[in-house]
Symmetry: C2
Subunit: 444 residues, 2 copies
């Protein structure tokens, strides 16, 4: 029973509502859409991510015998419900924006069309997967935009919210454009390049810093990145310079040094000077330590001689916005459009499509949300990816998703690509959708 696939990884009400649907024969076709209600403060766009894990979840959806035995023991569900749970599979359709698509509030990122009990049962995990990866990919995009082309590496596993968060944050940031991750399992599962340097403890465990540098360099001669801030950054840089000839004799090049504390810009300048003066012009500088997009932008703008950045906690937890105001809402049941009208939480009904128009400069000009079937100028963003519970095509590789994400970021108008809050991008509601909403209101 692994938490990532079991059907018990859900809110209890999904089970009790399904019981009631089944009891009253409410198994008609339901349409749910996942979307985000609004942008977090200082954000200008989202990047859709997590679809791959959602499709795997839907394909594998079932109650295991262990799940059923536990539910039976609890005595909360009648035998006929448990029998129905045992037979339950996901047989619906999925339309979605491909991963790596830039998107905006109220635009459906994913639509599920399935018999009501199925579409309801999968709600919690679908949201759990899409919320997290979309949140991380969106945060990672900001870091990428701030770094102006300098490579970024995910170092966030230790402060990620558990194992899966660390794993999927590595994936979401890589698809958005990060160069790789320190997370070995993410490397193994998703073919993401892995990076590693050394910890302060490694230096401390040795009697002196030079021996520590020598030891790690000899062990990993093709990947030498020395951490130089354990005691005194500039003194350590001098040690690196003194050690270089000996390592060179052994055929080992010092690929880089890493700074992890203090004023990273000031240290980078001094260290660059020490390295250059010592003939180590090829040795790069990697900066880490509580970095986020703001600090990266400040360092890049100031011209700090930093070649690469490692970003951890702030990115994998999306620290300034650690959740999205996302929803998975019933938009149609048995042919009848639905909308919620709760205060401050009203939604647009029906099956929707988003059309995106680019301007003459090749940048985003305007999106329009409309009803499915309506054809508008521009390109439609949602496509069908699953029919009758089966994928319509093999998943794109993570490299293909990276290409899409790179293109998507290049299409952002300059204002949206800045870290500061911009004038909101124009997302229109079509006349057809407005009319459908009025029609839905008449139903209730």
């Amino acid at each position: 029973m692994t938490p990532s696939t079991t059907s018990l990884l859900t809110d209890l009400y999904e089970l009790t509502m399904t019981q009631a649907y089944l009891a009253h024969n409410m198994t008609g076709e339901a349409v749910f859409e996942f979307f985000v209600r609004k942008l977090p403060t200082r954000r200008n766009f989202f990047m859709a991510a997590g679809l791959e894990q959602v499709l795997s979840f839907l394909e594998q959806f079932h109650f295991s015998e262990g799940d059923l035995a536990w539910l039976e023991e609890r005595g909360r569900f009648p035998p006929e419900t448990l029998i129905a749970f045992r037979a339950m599979r996901f047989t619906g359709d999925v339309h979605a924006m491909p991963e790596g698509t830039v998107c905006f509030p109220h635009e459906p990122i994913l639509r599920i069309t399935a018999p009501l009990p199925q579409a309801q049962l999968v709600e919690t995990r679908v949201m759990n997967l899409l919320n997290f990866q979309t949140m991380v990919a969106s945060k990672a995009c900001r870091c990428i935009l701030a770094a102006s082309g300098k490579p970024l590496i995910d170092f966030g596993l230790r402060r990620s919210h558990g194992a899966e968060a660390g794993l999927l944050a590595a994936r979401a940031s890589y698809l958005a454009g990060f160069a790789g991750t320190s997370n070995v399992l993410a490397g193994a599962q998703f073919a993401i390049p892995t990076y590693g340097t050394m910890a302060h403890s490694f230096v401390q465990a040795h009697r002196d810093e030079t021996t520590a540098f020598l030891h790690i360099a000899q062990s990993q001669p093709h990947h030498v990145v020395l951490l130089i801030d354990t005691y005194d950054t500039e003194a350590a840089a001098e040690r690196v310079v003194m050690l270089a000839p000996e390592l060179k004799r052994q055929g080992i090049a010092i690929h880089g040094v890493r700074l992890d504390s203090g004023d990273l810009g000031a240290h980078a300048r001094k260290v660059r000077h020490i390295l250059d003066r010592g003939g180590l012009e090829e040795t790069t500088i990697l900066a880490s330590g509580n970095l986020d997009e703001e600090r990266i932008e400040a360092l890049v703008t100031s011209g700090a001689p930093i070649d690469r950045f490692a970003v951890g906690t702030a990115m994998t937890t999306s620290a300034d916005a650690p959740y999205l105001d996302c929803a998975y809402k019933l938009q149609e049941y048995a042919g009848r459009p639905c909308r919620k009208r709760s205060e401050g939480k009203a939604t647009w009904p029906g099956r929707k499509q988003v059309y995106r128009r680019l301007g003459p400069d090749g940048r985003l000009a305007q999106d329009t949300i409309t009803v499915e079937g309506d054809t508008l100028p521009g390109r439609p963003l949602l496509r069908q990816v699953m029919e009758g519970g089966r994928r319509l095509a093999p998943s794109p590789s993570i490299l293909e998703i990276r290409d899409r994400a790179r293109l998507a970021l290049s299409e952002l108008p300059d204002t949206l690509g800045q870290l500061d809050q911009a004038e909101p991008y124009e997302v229109r509601i079509s006349g057809a959708l407005e009319r459908l909403a009025q029609q839905a209101d008449r139903y209730t």
Copy 2:
């Protein structure tokens, strides 16, 4: 290969450093401690949590054949390292604060004493587990303090950072004092009471609200909590009153109603009035919808007639402080005390103990961090829980941990129990520890 136990769920540098330690025979005894450097803004204390999962991880620590095969394919590690990895188990000692202990910055929450390669290899996952649950338990404590005795339920799974985050957030909030969770898997794995109501989609899928209420009530007659804000909260409350006699005839009591949007305090007052006037004085009101400790406190202080609160995203993501500034630092190697002196990140060396003194009022008066072996007035907070890789005693039940947490919160001085930032609690450094730090500095 499950992400939660595999040895590849780690930072690459743990593997490369271990390789170097093994190559240079640096397998002496290392002492690492986990602690938090500082309190997040507006926080006054932490609650330690996550030890149970750490101990399970350490007991099960090994490289699977799949892990080793993948590492071998990568070609980054020499055969002798992979042979050593294959034999690697955790054979060390663990000292820790019991889960449910209130603690403060710089106090060691957990200490690992083991051969250096082992103690290093487990770093990433140990931090990943302790950071997350300590963070969530600490946030949950604030909600509990704000609720002044009213029950709280975790509804956060959908916006938790992945599967494990949802699962362990349910655990951490329950041990801190929450009444239960909506997360069925957490109920199954940790014997946490589960709660559920109904979603707006359930109401929308029905032609009318009354039928929806009737259907869910008949399906779960012993757990009837009706969601009444889908269209018009007060109109729905009137419907509940009208429906009650019919349900009563069927032997069904309406246990509660749930409010999920709008001005919760104002709606609760109106709904309470409608219910009472309709003879439903026993029907409780559950409030949910973007709640956090501030909003709970405001609602409780204003006297809103809300009986229970469901808290989701803000608690499970610890939204105002989605990570702790935590560290796992080498404090001693081969009998030699170590400390890191990086700017702004200096640490206290050696094996440490914390003594806590209570005042005459039974509330926390002062903590002192000292070296292990030193005996001071008060009670020591760390105890040995693992020796030679084996637990010294069966784990406490989650109910025992809840009891400890309840006692710990009752010992908080009033100032620390408030939501606002208080004068920091006094944590002294003993003379013995000061002297050890000076000694450690002479080594480097």
